[in-house]
């Protein structure tokens, strides 16, 4: 079963729109959601959460329509935005008291264990916490009712590598239960390389690809050479090319290229940049 299934989602604003967004997050997997600023990542996540009303299309969570089954679905999901959006005069202990009344499955012990693990002070007002602490608190809040699905919108942006690593470890621990799933939007493609099973790339409000991370990293290669060398590559192998500092960089399909061509292993970031800035033609 898919934890999230988005089919032909359209949403228009003045000056921006999501076109025919379709992708799915299989249960028990982590989907990385990447794209440049303004590509439509947050808009898509907000549509999935029914915070924004879709123009048309279908959004299913656990096989159920989010608009029709909003409350029951929201019992099973945890959400983390790019900041902690709670009244800033409250503290973590007060938030526990509130959440106890929201979720029947709220686990205060687990919540305070996470706070202790992250060294988040339980009695300090949210407004006095650092950004890293706020994000850790946000993640503890999202996890403490044991949701089946986590939706995270840029949770690690602006955080130092140590905090990011702690958060990624916690997400991996959460994924030990095979029924859990994560949709993680991030600019930090290196984070996604560490933990994601699938990557969906959105550009200008359209899905460019949605693929298994292994397929992306092992089936693509980067060739660097002169124009003459590039001309030797089989045309069907070339996906994108762009001028680099030392000749021309070409993103190719590994299996379609003769092994005599030395190919570099791409990163998710490389692939993303090729698709945004590269050219299709030879």
């Amino acid at each position: 079963m898919n934890a999230i299934e988005v089919r032909h989602l359209h949403k228009s604003f003045e000056g921006f729109s999501l076109h025919d967004i379709s992708f799915s997050v299989p249960e028990g997997t982590i989907m990385g959601f990447i794209g440049e600023n303004g590509a439509g990542k947050s808009t898509t996540i907000k549509c999935i959460l029914n915070l924004l009303k879709k123009d048309y299309g279908e959004i299913l969570l656990f096989g159920k329509d989010i608009v029709e089954h909003e409350i029951s679905i929201k019992n099973d999901i945890g959400v983390v935005f790019d900041d902690l959006y709670v009244p800033e005069t409250l503290n973590a202990t007060q938030l526990d008291k509130i959440m106890k009344k929201v979720f029947k499955t709220w686990d205060s012990d687990y919540y305070f264990e996470r706070l202790a693990q992250f060294k988040v002070p339980a009695y300090k007002k949210v407004k006095t916490l650092s950004r890293g602490m706020r994000m850790k608190l946000s993640i503890a809040l999202a996890l403490a009712h044991h949701p089946k699905l986590l939706l995270l919108d840029e949770p690690t942006s602006g955080l130092d590598p140590i905090v990011r690593d702690e958060i990624l470890d916690l997400l991996l621990a959460y994924m030990e239960d095979e029924t859990h799933s994560i949709l993680l939007s991030s600019h930090m493609t290196s984070d996604l390389e560490k933990i994601a099973d699938y990557i969906t790339f959105i550009h200008d409000g359209e899905i460019v690809w949605s693929e298994s991370k292994d397929v992306l990293l092992y089936e693509y290669g980067i060739f660097n050479g002169t124009q003459e060398e590039v001309n030797e590559l089989p045309e069907q192998a070339i996906i994108r090319k762009r001028a680099g500092a030392f000749g021309i960089d070409v993103l190719v399909q590994k299996h379609a290229v003769n092994p005599v061509f030395a190919l570099k292993k791409p990163t998710i970031e490389d692939i993303m940049i090729f698709f945004v800035k590269g050219e299709v033609s030879r």
């Binding site: 907000k46 959460l49 029914n50 915070l51 924004l52 009303k53 409350i71 029951s72 929201k74 019992n75 999901i77 959400v79 935005f81 900041d83 902690l84 959006y85 709670v86 009244p87 800033e88 005069t89 409250l90 007060q94 008291k97 509130i98 959440m99 106890k100 009344k101 929201v102 979720f103």
Partner: protein, 198 residues
């Protein structure tokens, strides 16, 4: 809804000093007033402003965006807003009641003036909230929510030029009409909130 009421009570406790300031400010303004009309207006404007105060911090914190990811229906969200605003406006007006009653009755304490003023304050408070809350939910600006009140109270004053003639009617019907208006406005607020995007 319980969760939201718990949260609102915590926020009111945090903002207690500011909430205490409102009745004091109202009294200061009342002392400068010389007509009944402006006295009532002052009390209602200040009490309505105070009743919307918890929403200011929510707006700054983008709480609505987070709140709408939780399994709480929009109806419950609106009802909790109405509950907390009503409680705050009632508290404010209970504090103001003896002072307003004293000033209305020509600086003497009379039980019928006390009842009359209380009933009038309750009616006006319900009517003010009935207009202010949907306006706030639509616009997210306190100024936009409060501005129509000047107009409404002005029109009411023009219609009921001699309030003294309507004493019995106001005592009996006013609060009921106010409550009905407030109840009806909750439906408008739910409809507006359901249409909102976060």
């Amino acid at each position: 809804m319980k969760a939201l009421l718990v949260k609102d009570s915590m926020m009111v406790q945090q903002q207690l000093k500011i909430h205490m300031l409102f009745p004091l400010l109202t009294i200061m303004f009342l002392l400068m007033m010389d007509t009944d009309h402006l006295m009532m207006l002052t009390i209602i404007i200040f009490s309505t402003g105070q009743s919307l105060l918890p929403f200011l911090e929510e707006k700054q914190a983008k709480w609505a965006q987070y709140l709408n990811t939780l399994p709480i229906s929009k109806k419950e969200i609106i009802y909790s807003k109405y509950t907390v605003s009503s409680l705050l406006i009632i508290c404010h007006n209970l504090i103001m009641l003896p002072i307003a009653s004293f000033m209305f009755s020509g600086n003497t304490f009379e039980s019928n003036h006390f009842l009359y003023t209380g009933s009038l304050l309750f009616t006006l408070a319900c009517c003010a909230l009935a207009f202010a809350l949907p306006c706030y939910i639509y616009s997210q600006h306190i100024a936009v929510a409060i501005a129509p009140l000047f107009f409404i109270i002005g029109v009411a004053k023009m219609i009921f030029t001699d309030i003294a003639q309507f004493t019995t009617a106001i005592l009996l019907i006013g609060p009921v009409v106010g409550l009905i208006l407030l109840w009806l406005s909750s439906f408008v607020s739910i409809a507006l909130y359901t249409k909102r995007e976060f």
